[in-house]
Symmetry: C2
Subunit: 382 residues, 2 copies
């Protein structure tokens, strides 16, 4: 059975070129970059090159780039690290109801440390109301965190505009953006008014276990981990150069192919939705197309339990999701689907495209999905 | 030039079998173990198998095993996580002067959070005096942390005896042991009285970026990272199954070959030291052989600057270290060498053996080292 993998927002298969590179690097550059001998120094130099390359891709300085174990750690470092280090300036934090759990739970944890948190609702499209956000800023506000692309619905926020407006209220408010689902998929926000961002390699065909944290020079932060003086002391632990190199290559490929990937994803998304209509499937978009990443399609289906459809499709070798992998096992409506007040929360599914996803794959998915939906509805209505 | 790599305590080259396995796993088992579909579930099942296998190797339950990004994160999770979660029981922490920076700096950070820390000195062998340690226990003591094998000198502590004596004073004191340099090298302490340990994969021929944290059931702990419900919520973030599987295999191979590796390392260490004597090199052992891991040889050389010798040897393709890679760039005497009051702190070097290190390699190293030392001394004495 041909496998059709449509859960690339949970994790994208590692790219062939990236796999070849990490395999080579494991062997050639195994030394510890912190070792004093030339073998370590060679790896340190290569590590610096990777850091510089990623910095260049993001339009920032190499000294502003830190490697972490992934998007979750990067978001935690941003939220916990910035809040704790800037506490003397204030204790108020602002974020949105549709953030990734690694932002939301970090923020909620800070409540226990005496911070006051405010979680903004979103409109039915999943968008933050900028005016409302601005109205919540207090003299004690130190940090605002808004994600660039939502991992469940794909909805995009205008990060540049939000960051600029926040900074216009008070330039010393720190602005973080979780860009894990944006990088290599949609246009990244300019980082002019954005003080920190999070990226993860395995969402763009890189390996798991490696993430990036960008922090603008001059922003105060407290480390989450303590130890050796690696990475300016902000993130100790033996540097994982093979993974860093693989991340660099995945990023390079993602950026080089971005325009082509984006156009292809848009076409595939449209083709899928057209095919669903042709097949007579009734669905609601859980985010407006023009406001969403084309790599994420989240739709609500009436009279369908998403999980049942998911399992019906997997018997055909088609893999979709009901939302974030981080939450899916909880077996209840996700906080994002709740926040957008989706019309069919129980019947909301997510298909997420990879660079390799083909038109034939989504066409077949639409046809089989229509079939399964008919079967399931018959069953429901008996 | 044939390369002789003797810095395996900093990082060991990835084993061929492990590399083949991780490469295969990257491709076959790329799905996110938290995904709801069967492809994710298959990886989750495999992840559980790896966890169970590692638990069995350690003689503990699978539910007591957590995967982290490495030894540094595991040690931080132990120190910060246990101290913060048990603060209502007391605020006093006890550790030793020769711990890894990821323990020492975590403990020092806790001082800023209001904990009282006590760092025990060691004797010139690098050993903790158990009676002295016990005498420092107060009613407020909640955590004692003693490493099993020191990463710089290789000195071993009798962790079982220390843990047992600590528990005899008060059974609710939590005992942590950094076992990063012990696992797969020397006999691991029984975990009966040990509540938590840290391991890292890349010290035994596994990949970088993956570590293990064992926490005895029932011990209270606070997470360092917040997010999804992965790993019982203690350590969120997409699970890095390829690295976990590679770690499992490296551990399996390390344990299967342990006796043989240990005997071989003892022989190689003795051969190296004999050869040094034959070559007329004057040296002091920085840890008694009978109390040390045979994988780590730390010696002090009179009238030699360790760093200069290290660079002289690297021109011959021989890679040694002056101490911990985590600290070596700081270019000063390490805290461990200071703590043991080494006779020749400036001239202290570390050779650390891997499973692949051969007799021929260390013999050649001894010969070339003797040569370089003569040249350098001539230079010094001019």
């Amino acid at each position: 059975m041909q496998e059709i993998y449509l859960d690339n927002a949970a994790t994208m298969p590692i790219l062939k070129e990236v796999l070849a590179e990490i395999t080579e690097t494991y062997q050639a550059d195994y030394a510890n970059p912190s070792s004093l001998h030339s073998k370590g120094y060679e790896v340190e130099k290569k590590m610096t090159k990777s850091r510089e390359h990623l910095a260049k891709i993001l339009g920032v300085s190499a000294s502003e780039i830190f490697f972490t174990s992934g998007g979750t750690e990067s978001n935690n470092l941003a939220i916990l690290g910035i809040a704790r280090a800037n506490r003397q300036k204030g204790n108020h934090l602002l974020t949105t109801a549709i953030e990734h759990p690694s932002v939301l739970e970090a923020v909620r944890h800070l409540e226990k440390e005496g911070f006051v948190i405010e979680i903004l609702p979103v409109d039915p499209a999943g968008r933050v109301d900028i005016e409302e956000l601005l109205s919540k800023i207090r003299p004690e506000t130190i940090l605002v965190s808004v994600m660039a692309v939502n991992n469940e619905t794909g909805v995009m926020q205008d990060i540049e505009a939000i960051a600029q407006r926040v900074k216009a209220v008070r330039c010393d408010i720190i602005f973080h953006s979780d860009c894990v689902q944006a990088f290599g998929k949609v246009r990244m926000p300019m980082l002019k008014n954005v003080d920190s961002i999070s990226l993860g390699a395995h969402k763009i065909g890189g390996p798991k276990g490696i993430g990036l944290f960008y922090l603008k020079k001059g922003i105060k932060i407290e480390a989450l981990l303590f130890g050796g003086k690696h990475q300016s002391g902000l993130r100790p632990g033996t540097e994982n150069y093979p993974a860093v190199r693989a991340f660099e290559l995945a990023a390079e490929l993602a950026i080089a192919g971005q325009q082509q990937h984006f156009i292809k994803a848009e076409q595939i998304r449209q083709l899928f939705l057209n095919e669903l209509s042709v097949q007579g499937v009734d669905y609601r978009l859980n985010a407006p197309l023009e406001l969403s990443s084309p790599f994420i399609i989240n739709i609500g289906l009436p009279d369908i339990r998403a999980e049942v459809l998911l399992h019906a499709l997997e018997t055909e070798g088609i893999y979709i999701s009901t939302g974030s992998a981080c939450q899916s096992k909880k077996n209840r409506i996700s906080h994002v689907i709740e926040a957008i007040r989706a019309e069919y929360p129980e019947g909301s599914i997510r298909l997420s495209l990879g660079y390799q996803t083909s038109e034939a794959e989504v066409r077949q998915t639409a046809v089989l999905m229509a079939e399964k939906i008919k079967q399931l509805r018959r069953f429901v209505r008996k």
